[in-house]
């Protein structure tokens, strides 16, 4: 049986009368790749914020490694979970290497001095994300895709057990999308749990172990991609027709 990383029990989140998440109950498995998919405004990013403990659910409870998430110490939680945001600041006048080194913050002293082990981890994160040549450039000098990779590298430098990513492929070209997926597979081999919000259902069908379908703040379905990604289910999710072309490696899903 797969161990559970997150256990969400009847999670609701509302701003006034506006309900963002409604009665979410799901267990996210450890050391697996879970994709959260849904239309715009379905609550995907909000759910990720709840998993990060940055938003508090209005009702319900959430356990992280069998302990109430709200009881986790902020620093300890930062040592466990790394986050790649959908929107990140672009106007920081610091170098790529300095920003990636911030990933070591939960592990190092208050003044931010880096040990040789920290430097090695930062170097590996820069190498994996193809940023070695750009490490001395300022963030403001980079393209959107390059800056996205800086924040992916920052998360990797955090050496987390859980990696939460909010549409990390949005600004990446195909080469760097493939690079990111390769990195995530390596992280999974190192027993990291990956939870990723994405609109790219084909990419998720190919790489994710589990897919959580969210519609208007409710769970439409949760399970292995081949079991839940049917034309009917996708029509219910997006309110439009789909065709699924069966291929040797993985089906290709296209909206009609």
């Amino acid at each position: 049986m797969t161990n559970i990383c997150y256990n969400l029990n009847r999670i609701c989140l509302a701003y006034g009368k506006n309900r963002i998440l409604n009665d979410i109950s799901v267990s996210l498995p450890q050391e697996k790749f879970t994709a959260i998919v849904g239309e715009n405004g379905s609550g995907k990013s909000t759910l990720l914020q709840i998993l990060l403990n940055q938003l508090k659910a209005s009702t319900g409870d959430i356990n992280f490694y069998e302990k109430d998430l709200s009881l986790w110490n902020r620093k300890k939680l930062a040592q466990q979970i790394a986050y790649v945001p959908q929107n990140f600041p672009r106007d920081i006048q610091l170098s790529v290497e300095e920003i990636v080194s911030f990933g070591r913050t939960p592990w190092n002293n208050a003044f931010g001095f880096l040990s040789s082990k920290d430097k090695e981890i930062i170097h590996v994160a820069l190498e994996k994300t193809g940023l070695i040549k750009l490490k001395n450039k300022k963030l403001t000098e980079l393209s959107g895709g390059e800056a996205q990779r800086v924040f992916i590298a920052r998360a990797l430098a955090q050496t987390p057990c859980v990696l939460l990513l909010d549409e990390p492929t949005a600004q990446l070209d195909y080469k760097h999308q493939a690079m990111l997926m390769h990195i995530l597979l390596q992280e999974l081999e190192k027993k990291t749990t990956v939870v990723m919000v994405s609109h790219d259902i084909n990419l998720m069908a190919q790489y994710a172990d589990y897919i959580l379908l969210l519609k208007k703040g409710n769970i439409l379905d949760f399970g292995e991609p081949q079991k839940i990604l049917s034309k009917e289910k996708l029509k219910e999710l997006y309110d439009c027709d789909f065709t699924i072309k069966e291929q040797q490696l993985s089906p290709i899903i296209l909206p009609l």
């Binding site: 914020q49 990060l52 940055q54 902020r74 620093k75 939680l77 930062a78 040592q79 979970i81 790394a82 986050y83 945001p85 990140f88 600041p89 106007d91 920081i92 006048q93 610091l94 170098s95 300095e98 920003i99 911030f102 990933g103 913050t105 939960p106 208050a110 003044f111 931010g112 001095f113 924040f151 920052r154 955090q158």
Partner: protein, 322 residues
């Protein structure tokens, strides 16, 4: 890092020393610098009095206030994530001035004036934070600051209309930013507040760097951005209050110095804060030398010089949107 800090330390102390030297020896009783030094060696009474009792407190005050204003500016810019944020531009100094003038009109002792100025600055800060728009864009924050400054100025003028002629003159001169009335007592009091606060802000420099990532990533790094921001803004408000009660509202130092130093030493606050402390101190001491040297008769309030340099600098930065 250590090499950069060493470089900042050496050049910073060098600049402070030059500023101190000019501040002490330039234009003493219409003598040249070498004549003044000779007179001092001969233990000339008048020269000794001017140097030790008038010039030295004034230069030390300029150094302390310059350090305080520059560190305050750099801190506000990090907390608000806005390169143009500064206590003077956001009206915090104006709020402290209102608090202080209220205290003067109520006939309070100097210690209570500091407390009233602190309350004034904190009330202004809370007003800015509660208006909330500063989260969204640079212009909203600046406009809020401009409005609060305008309101503070109106309140100050109103309060001045209630004061007598003697109070009015001293308030006017103090309001423009004046270092000439320095006493060693003021300096000791200021040093007790400003030096430890500069040190604390420096020690929090790494966490201030993390604040630049935004609240979500700061929290994900194990830092509480709200708690850190409240702490930093509160301690800077203390320095604003004590400097305003001592020398008045001197503007734009917190903008010019951190912006210039960011271009030289980078945006890392572990380097920027000590650089602001030393070079900010030297900058205001130089401005004070200019305020004494430029006028043919008498002297200008130092705030006039910092305003003449700072306001065009602000407009250039605003046009570039940095």
């Amino acid at each position: 890092m250590f090499r950069s800090l060493l470089k900042i330390g050496i050049f910073g102390i060098l600049f402070c020393s030059i500023a101190m030297f000019l501040g002490l020896f330039l234009d003493v009783d219409n003598q040249t610098i070498s004549e003044t030094i000779n007179l001092l060696k001969q233990r000339d009474m008048l020269t000794e009095t001017i140097i030790y009792q008038i010039r030295l407190p004034r230069v030390l005050l300029a150094l302390l206030v310059g350090a305080s204003l520059s560190v305050g500016g750099a801190t506000f810019q990090a907390v608000f994530k806005n390169p143009l944020a500064e206590p003077y531009i956001l009206g915090i100094s104006g709020g402290a001035s209102v608090g202080m003038i209220l205290g003067i009109l109520m006939g309070l002792s100097p210690l209570y004036l500091d407390i009233y100025a602190f309350i004034g600055s904190i009330v202004t800060l809370l007003l800015i934070l509660s208006l909330g728009k500063w989260r969204y864009n640079m212009e909203s924050l600046l406009l809020t600051g401009v409005m609060i400054s305008a309101f503070s100025s109106a309140l100050i003028l109103f309060l001045m209309s209630l004061s007598d002629a003697n109070q009015l003159f001293s308030i006017m001169y103090w309001f423009m930013g004046d270092l000439s009335s320095a006493s060693m007592q003021d300096i000791k009091l200021l040093a007790c507040f400003i030096l430890p606060i500069c040190l604390i802000v420096w020690l929090l420099g790494y966490k201030m760097n993390i604040l630049l990532l935004g609240n979500d990533l700061a929290k994900n790094s194990g830092i509480s951005p709200t708690r850190l921001a409240i702490f930093l803004l509160t301690i800077i408000s203390i320095t604003v209050a004590v400097t305003v009660t001592t020398v008045g509202a001197i503007g734009f130092v917190g903008l010019v110095v951190p912006q210039a130093l960011r271009r030289i030493f980078g945006a890392d606050h572990r380097k920027l804060i000590p650089a602001c402390t030393l070079f900010g101190a030297a900058y205001l001491a130089f401005c004070d030398v200019l305020s004494r040297s430029i006028p043919i008769y008498g002297e200008l309030p130092t705030g006039v010089i910092t305003g003449l340099i700072g306001a065009p600098f602000f407009i250039v930065l605003l046009r570039k949107k940095i």
